[in-house]
Point group: C2
Chain length 252, copies 2
DNA sequence: TGCATGTCGTGCGATTATCGCACATACTGC
DNA sequence: GCAGTATGTGCGATAATCGCACGACATGCA
């Protein structure tokens, strides 16, 4: 490359790490080669380096992420005071609403959970936790995030929209998707039903000042949980109150 | 370096990332230069690369970790099925014991929380969550992890032991520290009081088969919570039952 | 057995990306 | 004005990286 301010080797190594983002169990060297598009020998050396640096570990089935990435995430979470400030607020909101509540932000063209709390009554877990990702276009969380992102991000996201619907209710038309995000921005909250997972619905509200990267607070429940207008108002009230508390997050 | 199978640039870039592990709010370029010991120009280019790859972001106060590291951690957590399998078990145990319960593993010479659950009754949070780190030598979690690690790790950890005690109760003598780990290995659980944080006590039990990296299940409470032998037995019972359930973690 | 396919390790020459000094600038407080 | 610190960047020498290529091994099928 011609760019003198870009360390290609580092970028390639990070590309290799990215291959593990979707929760792949364990990847073999040829698998990583295929996914990354790099040379086989290069992949091997990068992986060797990543193992020696503690980011990957070898297993019988191939390479996999090591606990190191957790420590790194701990740095991110610690900076935002997630454990000390955010978690109690989420817990309180979850109990008040008797619903799952989550704080999310954006990582490139997807939403990612930053923290989450479930009420004590919750028997089943959906399996979403810190670090879980959701699509931006077809969830309440994602649309609220898009509503607070730059037009460039919106355009990129639309350009990269999926070709196959998640469910029978998934909105596929780009114009109507844009409109949904627009609506979220205008009314200050977003609600989505059935589009990503049948039988599930979500409500999201913005958090804090419009910092560099937006944050949203959201709750998830079964499809008809938000059908009653008064009930929805209560949900929005609780979420917004919590959002104010969280809004004081350290934005150094 | 002479090693042909080691990408130095990648390692340096990861070193830069490591500077943010301790939850630093935001680091300036000179700060990172000091911490990493690399050349100023190199740090600048590596940081530029990390920003362009989405791992760091610029803020008025300097550079800081971006949400990307969360997505990466999500890959790790997803592989272990933390959200789907582990979280419900931890929640159940936390409710049974009415105490905080956590799953932890080892990252180099420290313990790191993989998942955590607090009972509904918990009003205050200690601020420890996923990705939080603890010392290996002076916590129940850490000693139980050491008891299941290789002698090399034990030796390294002892060699790098802190020079200053955390509290007045911190055990500083390497021989007695070794003995404490030995005891944990022999009796199949570990209990520590006051050594890391005054007024706090922890109990830890091993999880699963001795895989590559050990996992432990632990609970934390106020100092005298485990003084009663019958009470301790109940805690151990619940933890061990939960550990069996978690033991089926995907170890691909 | 022979051949195809896939994986893995690695030697090595050519290339080029990286290093790190160096110069230049700007801002602070005194 | 000056010392101290942060920042941007040009450039030559060096050393690290690339990626082809060769050899080895295992597996499956005809």
């Amino acid at each position: 490359m011609s760019d003198r301010d870009f360390a290609a080797t580092l970028a390639k190594g990070l590309d290799v790490l990215s291959c593990f983002e979707q929760g792949a169990p364990a990847l073999s060297l040829p698998e990583i080669t295929r996914r990354s598009g790099l040379d086989r020998a290069v992949v091997r050396r990068l992986c060797l380096t990543l193992v020696r640096c503690g980011y990957l570990e070898e297993s019988p089935a191939g390479l996999r992420l090591a606990s190191r990435v957790l420590t790194l995430a701990g740095g991110y979470l610690g900076r935002l005071e997630i454990g000390r400030v955010v978690q109690p607020i989420l817990r309180h909101a979850a109990e008040q609403l008797d619903m799952e509540v989550a704080l999310a932000t954006r990582d490139r063209l997807q939403a990612v959970y930053v923290d989450r709390a479930a009420p004590a009554s919750a028997r089943v877990t959906l399996g979403f936790g810190i670090g879980s990702t959701l699509p931006l276009l077809h969830t309440a969380v994602g649309r609220m995030l898009l509503a607070r992102s730059t037009p460039e991000v919106m355009a990129e996201t639309l350009a990269a929209r999926p070709t196959l619907p998640y469910t029978e209710a998934t909105e596929m038309d780009p114009t109507r998707l844009s409109a949904a995000v627009e609506t979220a921005r205008d009314q200050g909250y977003c609600i989505a039903r059935d589009e990503f997972e049948l039988g599930a619905a979500g409500v999201a509200v913005p958090v804090g000042t419009l910092a560099q990267t937006p944050f949203v607070l959201a709750t998830t429940a079964s499809v008809h949980a938000f059908d009653d207008p008064a009930g929805l108002d209560r949900v929005l009230d609780v979420l917004r109150q919590s959002a104010i508390g969280i809004g004081r997050m350290r934005e150094a």
